[in-house]
C-alpha cells in the first residue's frame, strides 16, 4: 500500500506536531480578497507583525465589485468603496501583489489562480473563502479558512490544522448527452449529503474524471465544501500539464519538464490507501436541479419534488420548511416552473467552457422577455476571450446582459441581487435562503446549459430535448 496524494502533500508540508496535537502546515500559495482579509491585516498591525513571505500571497477583488462600469471609482456603494480602498492600501503596505480591477489578470479568486498558473499540483493552497477547494482540481490541497487563519498565514505562512481523513469517490460512466460536471457534483452531494464530507478530504477519481476537462474538474472540486468536505482534489495527469503549460506563473522550459516528473510522482498510485472508498456510476444520470434550500436537496429533471413523508421523522420539518420557502409542493415536477432570473457565472461555472456550452444553446435564439438574464465571466481574461470567440455577442444577441468579471449574483454583496421572492435559475453553488440577496429569493442550482435553456423558455426545461446540447466529454 502507498500514500495517496493528499497524505504525501500533507506530510511534505508538515512543519511539526504542535503541543495541541494539531499539525503545523506550511501553505505554499495564499490567495486573498477584499471581504475576509481587511480584519486580518488589522490584526497584524495590532500585533506589530509583518507578512513573512509576501511573494506567496496574491490578492484580487471580486465579491463586492459591480459588474457594470466596474472601473468607475469611487463606487456608489460607500461600504464597497471602503473595502476596495482597504485592499489597495493593505497590499501596498505589506508588499503583496494585487490584481486590481485595472489589471487584465483580475477576476474571481478561484478563476484567476488556475488561469495564471499560480495554482499547481503538489501545493498547499489557502484562501479566506470556502470555494478554495476549486484549486484541488490540479492535485493540490486547497482549503477555505477564516480571517484569523488568514492572519496566521500572512504572519507565519502556516496554519494549525487537524489532518482530515481521505475518501476516494470513484466515478465511472460516460456522461450522457446534456450532462455536465455540475450535474455530477450535484448528484454526489445529494447522495453523500451536505454533511457526509465533514472530517474528510475528497479524492475524485475514476474513468469519468479522467475524461473531464480541467474546467469541468474545477466545477467538481469547487462544490466539495457543499458536501461538507473542506478539500476535494483530483490527481494530476496529462490534461493538468497541458493546461498549465505556458501559463504566466507556471514553471518554464526545463523546469516545466522537471515539474511534470515530480507532479506525476506524487499522484495517488493504484495501491494507494484511503480511509474510505465510495463508488458512483453516472452512466444514466439525468440533468440535476435543486428543489430546496441547500445543495443536497436535489433531484433529476425526471423526478418529482419529494414528499416530507419520504424522509425520516426528524428531517420532515426541514423539508417542509424548504418547500414553504421555495413555494413548491411535494409531488410537483420542476419542469415548467416559470423563472424570473437566469444567472450564469461564479467560481463554479463562470469559466470559458461554461460560457461556450451556454452559448451553444443560446445561439440564434432569444430569451423569454420575462426573464432577467445575466452572464458574468469569471475573469477579465475570460471576458476578453469570449469577445474574441464571438460568445459575448451570442449572449448579447439572445437578450442576456453581458457583464464584467466578479462574483455577481452568487452571493449578492454587490448590486446584482434577486428581488422579493423571485425564482432564479443559477449556475452558482449555494441555494441557501437569502444567498442571492433577497431574504425571500429562491434559487435553483443547475448547469450553465440548463440555465441558458430555462432563460430561452422562461421556465425550467429538460436540456436533453434541445438539439444543440453538447458536453464536456473531451
Amino acid at each position: 500500500m502507498s500514500k495517496n496524494l493528499f497524505n504525501t502533500i500533507w506530510d511534505q508540508h508538515t512543519i511539526r506536531k504542535l503541543p495541541t496535537g494539531q499539525d503545523q502546515i506550511f501553505i505554499g500559495l495564499h490567495l486573498i480578497h477584499e471581504v475576509t482579509s481587511p480584519q486580518a491585516f488589522q490584526m497584524l498591525r495590532d500585533r506589530n507583525l509583518s507578512v513573512l513571505y509576501p511573494k506567496q500571497t496574491f490578492a484580487t477583488i471580486d465579491h463586492i465589485v459591480p459588474t457594470e462600469h466596474q472601473k468607475q471609482r469611487p463606487y456608489n456603494d460607500r461600504q464597497a468603496e471602503t473595502m476596495a480602498q482597504a485592499i489597495e492600501r493593505n497590499t501596498k503596505d505589506f508588499g503583496v501583489t494585487f490584481f486590481s480591477i485595472d489589471s487584465p489578470r483580475h477576476g474571481i479568486v478561484h478563476v484567476i489562480g488556475p488561469e495564471l498558473g499560480l495554482t499547481q499540483p503538489g501545493m498547499t493552497i489557502a484562501c479566506g473563502d470556502s470555494h478554495t477547494s476549486t484549486h484541488g482540481a490540479f492535485g493540490a490541497i486547497a482549503m477555505g479558512i477564516g480571517t484569523s487563519q488568514v492572519r496566521d498565514v500572512l504572519a507565519s505562512q502556516c496554519l494549525a490544522l487537524n489532518r482530515p481523513k481521505v475518501r476516494k469517490i470513484e466515478i465511472k460512466g460516460k456522461p450522457p448527452k446534456g450532462i455536465y460536471a455540475k450535474d455530477i457534483i450535484l448528484k454526489i452531494i445529494a447522495d453523500l449529503t451536505v454533511k457526509g464530507g465533514i472530517g474528510y478530504a475528497y479524492e475524485y477519481s475514476g474513468q469519468t474524471i479522467e475524461y473531464l476537462s480541467m474546467e469541468a474538474r474545477m466545477t467538481i472540486c469547487n462544490m466539495s465544501i457543499e458536501g461538507g468536505a473542506r478539500m476535494g482534489y483530483i490527481n494530476p495527469d496529462e490534461k493538468t500539464f497541458a493546461y498549465l503549460q505556458k501559463k504566466e506563473y507556471s514553471p518554464k522550459n526545463d523546469a516545466f519538464e522537471r515539474a511534470k516528473k515530480y507532479w506525476l510522482s506524487i499522484a495517488s498510485k493504484k495501491d494507494a490507501e484511503y480511509d474510505d472508498i465510495t463508488h458512483i456510476d453516472i452512466q444514466d444520470l439525468a440533468p440535476r436541479l435543486t428543489w430546496g434550500i441547500h445543495p443536497g436537496q436535489g433531484i433529476s429533471i425526471e423526478e418529482n419534488i419529494p414528499s416530507p413523508q419520504a424522509f425520516s421523522a426528524k428531517e420532515r420539518n426541514a423539508v417542509e420548511h424548504a418547500l414553504t420557502h421555495m413555494r413548491f409542493k411535494s409531488g410537483e415536477t420542476l419542469r415548467g416552473k416559470k423563472i424570473d432570473v437566469a444567472f450564469i457565472g461564479s467560481c463554479t461555472n463562470g469559466r470559458l467552457s461554461d460560457l461556450r456550452e451556454a452559448a451553444k444553446i443560446l445561439k440564434g435564439n432569444k430569451i423569454s422577455p420575462s426573464v432577467r438574464s445575466i452572464a458574468v465571466p469569471g475573469s477579465q481574461d475570460i471576458a476578453h476571450q469570449a469577445e474574441e470567440e464571438g460568445i459575448a455577442d451570442i449572449f448579447r444577441q439572445s437578450g442576456f446582459q453581458w457583464r464584467e468579471a466578479g462574483c455577481s449574483m452568487c452571493l449578492a454583496m454587490n448590486p446584482d441581487k434577486l428581488e422579493g421572492h423571485q425564482l432564479c435559475a443559477s449556475t452558482s453553488n449555494r441555494n441557501f435562503i437569502g444567498r442571492q440577496g433577497s431574504p425571500e429569493g429562491r434559487t435553483i442550482l443547475m448547469s450553465p446549459a440548463m440555465v441558458a435553456a430555462a432563460a430561452l423558455a422562461g421556465e425550467i426545461v429538460d436540456i436533453r430535448k434541445q438539439e444543440d446540447s453538447n458536453h464536456e466529454w473531451k
Binding site: M123, S130, T147, A255
Partner: protein, 207 residues
C-alpha cells in the same frame, strides 16, 4: 503570545433548533461589507430576527427569557457553507461564549476555536434532552467543563466530546495560534528551502 486558558464556560443557554443552519443564515452576506468585526453581533441571524422594516420577528433570540443566554444549543451540521469568520465573530459579539450541538461544519468549528469559542458535541438524544430542559426553564445555569467535556445543568450531567486538539488548545490557551506558529521560524524557512515548487523543481524530496 497566546489567548486565555479556557477551562469552564458558565451561563444561560438558548436552544436554536434545526439541522444545516448555514453561515448565510448566521450572518447574511450583505452585512459582511465591512472592514472590521466590531459591532457585527447586531446582524446575527438578521433575516430570522427582523423583517424588512427592521421590526423584530418571532424568534427565540428575541424572546425576553433568552436575551441573556451566552451558550447556544444547536443540532446537526451547524455553520455549514461559507468560511466567513464573520459568523462566529457575530456570535461572539452578540454574547455567545460556547456552542453545544450534534455536529459542526469543519471550517466553522475551526473559526470558533480561533476565537476561543468551544464547540462541544453531544449525541442526538442528549442534545434534544438538553434543548428541552432549557426550553422549559431558561433560568437554569449551564456550565461546560472543558477538562472533562461535561455539561452540568441543575442535577443533570451530559457527557460530550470535542477533538482532542481543540480541547488542548482551549485548556492551554494556544487557540490563539499565531505565537505558536511563529515560534517555528527556522523550520518554516527550511521548508521554504526544500519544497520543489519553491526551488524551481531542482530539489528532490521523498514522496
Amino acid at each position: 503570545m497566546s489567548g486565555n486558558n479556557i477551562q469552564q464556560i458558565t451561563g444561560y443557554a438558548v436552544p436554536l433548533l434545526g439541522d444545516d443552519i448555514d453561515t448565510d443564515q448566521i450572518l447574511p452576506a450583505r452585512y459582511m461589507k465591512t472592514v472590521s468585526f466590531s459591532g457585527i453581533g447586531k446582524y446575527l441571524f438578521y433575516d430570522h430576527r427582523f423583517d424588512q422594516d427592521a421590526k423584530e420577528k418571532s424568534h427565540i433570540l428575541n424572546e425576553k427569557s433568552f436575551k441573556k443566554a451566552s451558550i447556544l444549543l444547536v443540532n446537526k451540521n451547524f455553520g455549514c457553507g461559507s468560511s466567513r469568520e464573520h459568523a462566529p465573530q457575530a456570535l461572539y459579539d452578540y454574547g455567545f461564549r460556547a456552542i453545544i450541538g450534534e455536529s459542526f461544519a469543519e471550517i466553522f468549528a475551526g473559526n470558533c476555536l480561533m476565537l476561543g469559542i468551544p464547540t462541544l458535541t453531544l449525541t442526538e438524544e442528549k442534545i434534544r434532552k438538553l434543548q428541552e430542559e432549557v426550553q422549559l426553564n431558561s433560568t437554569l445555569t449551564l456550565s461546560i467543563e472543558i477538562n472533562t467535556l461535561t455539561v452540568n445543568i441543575g442535577p443533570s450531567v451530559y457527557n460530550g466530546s470535542m477533538p482532542k486538539t481543540f480541547q488542548e488548545s482551549l485548556l492551554s490557551g494556544m487557540w490563539d495560534s499565531i505565537g505558536l506558529l511563529l515560534s517555528a521560524r527556522e523550520k518554516i524557512e527550511q521548508t521554504v528551502q526544500s519544497l520543489p515548487y519553491l526551488n524551481n523543481f531542482i530539489k528532490e524530496v521523498d514522496v
